[in-house]
């Protein structure tokens, strides 16, 4: 089954209003999903289509645009050997989105990293604190408005 047909099959099963659009680039499909429905979509993909392996969870900062933070999930289906990318936006200030730790335990550290690096709040995360940087670090370094060399360069060095 080629990628287009497979995507259509998935789309037909997903709730219509949940999926905003579908992108395809270099043979990889991205589903852009409403942030309120992200848990439903991921659960459906996991339970019905066998995307049981959450490869990666990350975020992208589109600074001038609004909503600013895009959260990206990469899922892998072991049975079909297929990759799918699900994207959504974290809205609000601070940006908030529901946590998927209930679906995959592996999301725990991924979400903590996203919180650490972007300041995205994952609603329902059991233990949301900084993971790579220390408590008390000023700012979220992977945001586009954070300088590479750090804000407190003079003070810290």
């Amino acid at each position: 089954m080629d990628i287009k047909k497979y995507t259509e099959k998935i789309l037909s099963a997903l709730p219509k209003e949940a999926v905003k659009s579908v992108q395809e680039f270099r043979g990889q499909v991205s589903l852009i999903v409403e942030s309120e429905r992200i848990i439903d979509v991921l659960k459906l993909l996991r339970d019905r289509f066998g995307f049981r392996y959450l490869i990666d969870l990350t975020a992208v900062d589109h600074l001038p645009n609004e909503p600013r933070f895009e959260v990206v999930y990469h899922l892998w289906c072991h049975a079909e050997k297929r990759l799918i990318r699900v994207k959504t936006f974290a809205k609000g200030e601070p940006p908030t989105i529901s946590s998927v730790v209930g679906l995959w335990s592996t999301a725990n550290w991924h979400e903590r990293e996203c919180y650490d690096m972007f300041g995205i709040i994952f609603d329902g995360h059991p233990d949301l604190r900084r993971i790579l940087l220390w408590e008390g670090f000023d700012g979220h370094p992977l945001r586009k408005d954070y300088p590479v060399e750090g804000r407190d360069e003079k003070r810290n060095n």
């Binding site: 940087l133 750090g150 804000r151 360069e153």
Partner: protein, 169 residues
């Protein structure tokens, strides 16, 4: 006015003997930070064999170590631990900086990396490279040996330091 006894043959001989002993018994701290630690382990392994210099006794406890090889990137999160380890070591102690990250931050000029550990620690020998080869590390070891042999810890004179004649109240 300081220690100004020039010391006889006894003192200088003792100094030489102790320096000789220290030279051949530099026990490094088991302490690796990043990529350079791998090359440090390779130096300890069969081919380069740092044991020839009596240095295979890597001590896990800083109390018993003589030399700290800062092998790898020091991040700002790790810096307090590094400093603490240095303070826990007992005198006499030496610090060898291995690799460009620890020397100057190297390629990682970012918000998380300390741009050179020499801002915080008194460094004896720098070994450049990213990572330095084991040969380079061994060369650094011989430089440490030279430094130890020239260490006038017993006969050092402090005449050049001028103390005030009278401290005014």
């Amino acid at each position: 006015m300081g220690i100004e006894q020039s010391g006889g043959i006894l003192v200088t001989t003792l100094e030489k003997v102790v320096n000789w002993a220290r030279k051949y018994s530099v026990w490094p701290l088991t302490f690796g930070l990043a990529c350079c630690a791998i090359e440090m382990i390779c130096t300890a392994a069969a081919r380069f064999d740092i044991a020839r210099f009596g240095m295979e006794a890597y001590r896990p406890s800083p109390r018993q170590a003589d030399m700290m090889i800062v092998a790898g990137t020091v991040t700002k999160k790790m810096l307090p631990a590094v400093l603490r380890l240095y303070e826990q070591m007992v005198d006499p102690k030496w610090v060898m900086v291995m690799g460009s990250c620890a020397t100057s931050g190297g390629v990682f000029r970012s918000y998380a990396v300390v741009q050179g550990i020499d801002k915080y620690l008194p460094v004896d020998v720098y070994v450049p490279g990213c990572p330095p080869t084991p040969d380079a590390l061994l060369y650094g070891v011989t430089k440490i040996h030279e430094k130890i042999m020239q260490d006038k810890w017993l006969t050092k004179k402090y005449e050049h330091i001028k103390f005030p004649e009278k401290v005014k109240s």
